[in-house]
C-alpha cells in the first residue's frame, strides 16, 4: 500500500508558504497510514483549509483593489501638483494669491465618517463633487486659454483620472461592503454661479488646490483602510 500511495498521490503546493510546507509533508505523512484513514484525514484537512484559503484570496483581492486605488490616487495627486504649477503659470500676475482665497461652493478636502464604509462613502461623494468642479474649471479655462494649451490637457487628464478613481473606489466599495447600499447617494455638487475672469481664475485655483489636498487625505485613508479592512476581511463576512 505504501508503494501505491507513493505512486498515486501527488499534491500541489498552495498559495502560501505555510501551506506549501504542509502540502510538502502531507504525502509522506499519509502514506504511513491505511488508505481509509488517509482519505478521512485528507477530507478533514481540506474542510479545515477551505475557509482560511478563501478568506485569504479575498484579502488579497481587497488589498490589490486598495493598492490599485492608492496608486491611482498618488498619480492623480502628482499630476494635480503639476497641474497647479501649470495653472499658476498660465493665469498671469498675482496668481500666487489666487489659491489663498476661500470659496464656499468648493467642498472641504476632509473625509468624514467613522467606519471604513462611511469614510469610503465620503470619498466617493467628494470625488463626484470634485468631478463637477473640475469640469467647470475646464470649461472656464477653455475660454481663457488657447486650444493647444497644456493646461487644458492636464485638466482633462486629471478629470479623466478622477473618474477612474471614482470607478475604482466604487468597485472597492462593492467588493468590501457588499451588504451595504449599492451606491452612496449624495447631493449633487453646487457649482458657483456665473463668474468674471478673475473669479474664474481664483475659483479654478481653489478647486485644484482643494482637490490636491483631498487626494492627499485619500491616500492616507486608503493606507489606513488597507491595514484595517483587508486584513480583517473575515470580520465582514
Amino acid at each position: 500500500m505504501k508503494g501505491e500511495c507513493d505512486m498515486g498521490m501527488t499534491f500541489r503546493p498552495s498559495e502560501t508558504s505555510s501551506l506549501l510546507r504542509t502540502w510538502a509533508l502531507l504525502p509522506h505523512f499519509l502514506c504511513q497510514l491505511p488508505v481509509q484513514t488517509s482519505l478521512a484525514l485528507l477530507l478533514l484537512l481540506l474542510i479545515l483549509l477551505r475557509s482560511p484559503t478563501a478568506s485569504s484570496s479575498r484579502d488579497q483581492q481587497c488589498a490589490s483593489s486598495v493598492q490599485r486605488t492608492l496608486k491611482l490616487t498618488r498619480l492623480i495627486h502628482t499630476e494635480s501638483v503639476d497641474l497647479i504649477k501649470t495653472y499658476r503659470a498660465s493665469q498671469g500676475d498675482m496668481s500666487h494669491l489666487f489659491c489663498k482665497v476661500s470659496i464656499p461652493d468648493v467642498p472641504e478636502p476632509n473625509i468624514s465618517g467613522l467606519e471604513p464604509s462611511e469614510r469610503t462613502e465620503s470619498i466617493l461623494r467628494h470625488l463626484r463633487v470634485f468631478s463637477s468642479h473640475l469640469r467647470r474649471v475646464y470649461e472656464q479655462q477653455t475660454d481663457l486659454q488657447r486650444p493647444d494649451s497644456g493646461l487644458l490637457v492636464q485638466l482633462d487628464t486629471v478629470g479623466e483620472r478622477n473618474r477612474g478613481l471614482e470607478a475604482l473606489l466604487r468597485n472597492f466599495y462593492r467588493d468590501v461592503f457588499p451588504n451595504l447600499q449599492d451606491w452612496p447617494a449624495g447631493a449633487p455638487a453646487s457649482l458657483p454661479p456665473a463668474q468674471n475672469t478673475f473669479q474664474q481664475k481664483v475659483y479654478g485655483c481653489v478647486v485644484l488646490k482643494t482637490y490636491k489636498d483631498f487626494l492627499l487625505n485619500v491616500c492616507r485613508e486608503l493606507r489606513s483602510m488597507r491595514s484595517r479592512v483587508c486584513r480583517g476581511r473575515r470580520n465582514f463576512l
Binding site: 490599485r68 496608486k71 498618488r74 498619480l75 487628464t157 479623466e160 483620472r161 477612474g164 470607478a167 475604482l168
Partner: protein, 896 residues
C-alpha cells in the same frame, strides 16, 4: 408543412402576384436568390415553375458554369419544383442556372422566360483571432494615449467576395469602450487619457457574411501594455581614484507614481559589439545611478540602459538609450609587452641582423610613452657587468595608442652566429611600468628545431595551423608568426597547443609566410615555415615577357619575371607561353619555377607575337604582349656566304692565272695569232733578177714564206725604218707585189696576211679572217708530189668542209704548209686584195682601189665560191694566165 417548403410557397406567391401585374420576366425562379455559401459545404437550390403549363419539373435541368449538373443531384419536389444539391469547394464565384428543355414552340420562342440564374457567393467562415498583443508606447513625457494591438489570423480568407473585418474593442472600468475596425491584423485605439492603474479589457472580433468570431479577452492593468521611452540624460562619470569603474546617472522616462521601473545596463569597449550585460541581481529597482566595476583602465566604453515596469510580465522593455561613451582613467600596465625579434642574415659574414620589435602590453592601461630595453649579450655575461637600460621613447597619437596591435621597432643589432643574447623589455605609461618581458636568441648552431609537420588550411574564413613537436619537455610556449610583404604579426600559443587559428586580420588572395617558433625557457628556437593563402584567386596580371637576346632565325629565348607577390593571389601552378605568327596560335606550358624558355622551330624573317599566361588553381591572367621578328639569316650565315663567294672568286682567279701562265702559249696563239711580217718576208728580196729556176717545186711551196710576227709598233718601226727603203723601192715593190701575184697568185694570197691586216682594219681583217677561215681550200692530193710544172689539169681543188680556223691549223706546221700551199693555189683577187695594207699613204689610192667597200668585200666573199667554182671549173685558165706574166711566180720564191 415543413419549414423548407415555406420559402417555396412564398416564392410562388410572389411569382403569381407579379404575373397578375403583367410583369412576368421569367417562368422559373430560384430560391435562395443571393446566397452566401460557406466553402466546403453542400448547397441546395430550388427552381420553381410559375404561371405556365408549358413545362414541368421533369423538363428542368441545372447548369453550373455552363456545365449541366448530373440528374442524380436533382430532387423533384413536385411537378413544378426541382431542387439541386451541389458541393461548394472552390472560391471562384459561379452562376447557377435553372433551365427548361424546349419541348414546345412557346418555350423556343420565349427562351428568356425559361431560364433563371443566381450568383453563388462563396466565402470561408471567419477565424478566431489569436495571439492578441497590445502596446501603449510613450509619446511624450506622460502621454500614452494610443494603444496599438496586433493579432494573428488563421485559415482561409476570401478577400474579394466577403472579406473578413476585424474590430478591436478596448473597454476600461469607467465603461468607456473604444472600437476600431480594420481588414488587417493590427489596429490602433486612441483613448485620450491613458487609464493608468485601471483594468483594460481588449478583444478582437472577426466577422464576415457567414458570422463573427471573437478572440480571447485580454484583461490587464493598463500598465501591462506600456512601453516607456528609454531613460534619458544618461551621463557617465569616470573616477580618477578608481580607474576600473565608471559611474552612470540617468533620468527615468516616467515618475514612479505611474509605475516603478527596473533597468537593464549593458556596456562594451567602444567599437566592439560584444555587449556585457550587468546581472539583474546587481541592479536595484527604481534607481537613477549605477557604478560599473572591473573595467579596463584607459579604455573607452559604450554604455546603454533600458527600462521596464518592475511588476512581472507588466509592460515591455523600452528601447536602448543612445550610446554614451566614456574613457576610464589610466593605470600602470599590468601585463608584459609582447617582445619579438626578426632575424635576418647580415651583410657581414657570420653575423645575424636582429631587429627587436614589440607590441604594447595587452593591458597597457594607458598610452605607452616609452620602453626600457636591456640587451644582455655573451660578452656582457662574461664580464658579469650590469647593463644599463636603454630608454626608447615612443611618440604616439591618441589614435595610435588605441591600437594595442601596433608594432614598435625597438632596436637593430648585429649578432654573430656564435654569440647569444637575452633581451629584456618593460613598457611605461604615465602611471607606471609594466612587468618585464624577456626573450633569448641562442647561438645559431644551438637553435633547436623542435617543430615539424607544419600544416595549414583555410576554414570558415580563418587559417588554421597544425604542427607536431619532437620533444615537448623544454617548450614553454609557441610563437606563430605570419609575414606578408613588409607586414609582420604574431601570436602566442601555450606549450600544449598543437593547433591554432591565426587571430590577425587575414585577408584573401594574400600570401602569408607562416612560421611556428618554439620557445624553450625563454629562448627562441628554429621555426617550421610554410606559405599559405586564405583563399586563392586568379592572378591580377600576367608576367611581362621579353627577349633575353636578339631572336635568331629559328629560335628566340623568352624571359619573364615572376608576378609580384601582391598580384599573384595564389600559388602559380604553371605558365603557358603563347606565340603566334598570324592566325595560328601555339602554346607551351611550363612549370611555375621556370622563368625563361627558348622557342624553337620558328620561321625566319617572321613577326611573332608572344605573351605568357600565369595560372593558379582559381584562374589565370595573361601578361603583356611582346612582338619580335626572327632574322632572315642566321648569325654567321652571311659571313659564310661572303667568305665562300670570296674564296670561290679567289679560286677562279687563281685558276685563271694559273691557266694563263701554263697555257699562255695557247692563249697567245688563240687570241693573238702569229702573223708573218710581210716586211720580213723574203719576198721583198725577191727580184726578177733571180733566175727563175725551173726547180722542182718543193712539196711545200709556201714554206719559204716567213710569217710576220710583229705587233703594230713593230710594224710601224719596220715601216718607218723601211719607209725610205720602201719609198725607194716603191715602184719596185708595187711592181713586185703586183708581179708577185699576191693579188692574184694563188700561192701568195695567204690568209695570214689578211689577218695581220686586221690590226688596222679590224672589220676588214675579221672579214678577211673569216673569209680565210671558212673559205680555205684544201688540196687534197694535189700538193703531194706536186711539181711546178704539173699540168693544171692534175690539180684537184676541193672545197674544205672543215670549220676549224686556219690559225689552229697553224699549230701544225705541216697543215700550215699544206694550207699555205693550198692558199697559194687560191685565187685571191676576186675576193680580197690586201697587199696594199702594208703600203704607205701614197699607195692608199691603190689600196682604196684594192680595198673595196665592205659590202663589196662581203659580196666578194660571198662571191668567193663562185670564184672558186670558176677556179674549179677553169683551173687551167686561171693558172695559165699568171704563168704567162709571172712565170716563176709559183715556184719562184726563194727558199726562206
Amino acid at each position: 408543412m415543413s419549414a423548407g417548403r415555406l420559402p417555396l410557397l412564398m416564392l410562388a406567391f410572389l411569382a403569381s402576384a407579379s404575373s397578375t401585374s403583367g410583369e412576368i420576366t421569367s417562368h422559373l425562379v430560384i430560391t435562395p436568390q443571393s446566397p452566401v455559401i460557406q466553402i466546403g459545404t453542400n448547397f441546395t437550390a430550388t427552381c420553381v415553375i410559375t404561371d405556365t403549363a408549358e413545362t414541368t419539373a421533369d423538363d428542368l435541368y441545372w447548369n453550373l458554369s455552363q456545365i449541366i449538373i448530373p440528374k442524380n443531384q436533382y430532387t423533384k419536389i413536385n411537378e413544378s419544383a426541382l431542387s439541386v444539391t451541389i458541393l461548394v469547394n472552390s472560391e471562384k464565384p459561379e452562376w447557377l442556372y435553372c433551365r427548361s428543355r424546349e419541348k414546345s414552340p412557346y418555350i423556343s420562342v420565349n427562351k428568356g422566360k425559361f431560364i433563371h440564374g443566381i450568383l453563388l457567393t462563396k466565402v470561408y467562415p471567419p477565424d478566431k483571432p489569436t495571439n492578441l498583443t497590445c502596446i501603449a508606447t510613450q509619446v511624450k513625457a506622460f502621454i500614452f494615449s494610443n494603444l496599438k494591438c496586433f493579432w494573428e489570423t488563421a485559415g482561409y480568407h476570401t478577400k474579394e467576395m466577403s472579406p473578413t473585418t476585424y474590430t478591436l474593442h478596448v473597454e476600461h472600468m469607467i465603461d468607456q469602450v473604444y472600437n476600431v475596425s480594420t481588414k488587417g491584423n493590427s489596429a490602433q485605439v486612441s483613448m485620450g487619457v491613458f487609464p493608468f492603474h485601471l483594468l483594460l479589457d481588449v478583444w478582437v472580433v472577426a466577422h464576415n457574411h457567414l458570422g463573427s468570431k471573437e478572440s480571447e479577452h485580454l484583461k490587464k492593468d493598463a500598465d501591462w501594455f506600456v512601453k516607456t521611452n528609454p531613460p534619458s540624460g544618461v551621463k557617465v562619470l569616470p573616477d580618477e581614484t578608481l580607474p576600473t569603474s565608471l559611474l552612470i546617472n540617468w533620468t527615468p522616462p516616467i515618475v514612479k507614481d505611474y509605475f516603478i521601473l527596473k533597468y537593464h545596463i549593458r556596456y562594451c569597449l567602444n567599437g566592439s559589439d560584444n555587449w556585457i550585460n550587468v546581472p539583474d541581481v546587481d541592479i536595484a529597482e527604481d534607481i537613477q545611478s549605477f557604478r560599473l566595476q572591473n573595467l579596463q583602465p584607459d579604455a573607452v566604453y559604450a554604455i546603454q540602459i533600458r527600462c521596464k515596469n518592475t511588476k512581472k510580465d507588466h509592460g515591455y522593455w523600452s528601447d536602448w538609450s543612445p550610446r554614451v561613451t566614456k574613457e576610464t582613467p589610466e593605470d600602470r600596465p599590468t601585463s608584459k609587452p609582447d617582445l619579438w625579434t626578426i632575424i635576418a642574415d647580415s651583410e657581414h659574414k657570420n653575423e645575424r641582423e636582429v631587429t627587436l620589435i614589440c607590441r604594447d602590453p595587452v593591458f597597457s592601461n594607458g598610452r605607452i610613452t616609452s620602453f626600457n630595453l636591456e640587451i644582455q649579450t655573451q660578452k656582457e655575461n662574461i664580464r658579469n657587468g650590469s647593463m644599463a637600460w636603454d630608454y626608447i621613447s615612443v611618440n604616439r597619437s591618441v589614435a595610435d595608442s588605441s591600437q594595442s596591435q601596433m608594432v614598435t621597432i625597438l632596436k637593430k643589432i648585429s649578432l654573430p652566429y656564435q654569440s647569444y643574447m637575452m633581451v629584456h623589455v618593460t613598457a611605461i605609461n604615465s602611471v607606471g611600468t609594466s612587468p618585464q618581458a624577456s626573450l633569448g636568441i641562442p647561438v645559431k648552431t644551438h637553435e633547436r628545431n623542435l617543430v615539424e609537420n607544419l600544416k595549414v588550411w583555410p576554414q570558415e574564413g580563418q587559417l588554421f595551423l597544425k604542427w607536431n613537436v619532437t620533444n615537448n619537455t623544454s617548450v614553454t610556449e609557441f610563437i606563430v608568426e605570419w609575414v606578408s610583404g613588409i607586414d609582420i604579426d604574431w601570436q602566442r600559443e601555450k606549450r600544449n597547443t598543437r593547433q591554432a587559428a591565426l587571430k590577425g586580420n587575414i585577408e584573401k588572395f594574400i600570401c602569408y609566410k607562416i612560421s611556428v617558433y618554439p620557445i624553450y625557457n625563454g629562448w627562441k628556437g628554429k621555426p617550421a615555415t610554410i606559405e599559405a593563402f586564405l583563399e586563392e584567386g586568379a592572378p591580377l596580371e600576367g608576367p611581362s615577357v621579353r627577349l633575353n637576346v636578339k631572336p635568331g632565325r629559328n629560335e628566340a629565348e623568352l624571359v619573364w619575371n615572376g608576378i609580384p607577390l601582391h598580384k599573384r593571389q595564389g600559388f602559380i601552378t604553371n605558365y603557358t607561353i603563347f606565340y603566334s605568327s598570324g592566325n595560328e596560335i601555339r602554346e607551351i606550358t611550363v612549370p611555375a619555377n621556370i622563368t625563361s624558355y627558348v622557342l624553337t622551330s620558328l620561321t625566319g624573317n617572321t613577326k611573332y607575337d608572344t605573351w605568357i599566361r600565369a595560372s593558379t588553381i582559381r584562374g589565370s591572367a595573361n601578361g603583356t604582349n611582346h612582338s619580335f621578328t626572327t632574322l632572315k639569316y642566321a648569325p654567321g650565315e652571311i659571313e659564310m656566304i661572303v667568305v665562300g663567294v670570296s674564296l670561290s672568286f679567289l679560286f677562279v682567279v687563281l685558276m685563271t692565272m694559273l691557266l694563263c701562265i701554263y697555257k699562255r702559249d695557247m692563249i697567245k696563239k688563240n687570241f693573238w695569232p702569229w702573223i708573218p711580217n710581210p716586211g720580213e718576208s723574203t719576198i721583198v728580196n725577191w727580184s726578177p733578177d733571180y733566175p727563175l729556176k725551173p726547180e722542182t717545186p718543193k712539196e711545200n711551196c709556201l714554206s719559204d714564206i716567213s710569217v710576220l710576227d710583229m705587233d703594230v709598233n713593230d710594224d710601224k718601226s719596220v715601216l718607218e725604218e723601211d719607209k725610205t727603203i720602201l719609198a725607194l723601192k716603191k715602184d719596185k715593190y708595187l711592181s713586185e707585189e703586183h708581179s708577185s701575184g699576191i693579188g692574184g697568185s694563188s700561192c701568195m694570197s695567204s690568209p695570214r696576211q689578211s689577218v695581220s691586216d686586221s690590226d688596222e682594219g679590224g672589220e676588214i681583217a675579221d672579214t678577211t679572217a673569216s673569209t680565210v677561215q671558212y673559205s680555205s681550200v684544201v688540196a687534197s692530193s694535189g700538193y703531194k708530189g706536186q711539181t711546178p710544172c704539173v699540168p693544171p689539169q692534175q690539180v684537184i681543188f676541193s672545197r674544205s668542209e672543215s670549220t676549224q680556223p686556219l690559225l689552229d691549223s697553224e699549230e701544225n706546221p705541216d697543215i700550215v704548209q699544206e694550207g699555205s700551199r693550198q692558199s697559194q693555189l687560191f685565187p685571191q683577187s676576186p675576193c680580197f686584195t690586201h697587199t696594199a695594207w702594208n703600203q704607205d699613204g701614197a699607195s692608199s689610192s691603190k689600196f682604196n682601189q684594192l680595198e673595196m667597200e665592205p659590202q663589196e668585200a662581203l659580196l666578194s666573199l660571198d662571191l668567193c665560191p663562185l670564184a672558186e667554182d670558176s677556179v674549179l671549173t677553169t683551173p687551167a685558165d686561171r693558172q695559165s694566165a699568171p704563168l704567162s706574166s709571172y712565170m716563176p711566180q709559183l715556184c719562184g720564191y726563194r727558199s726562206q
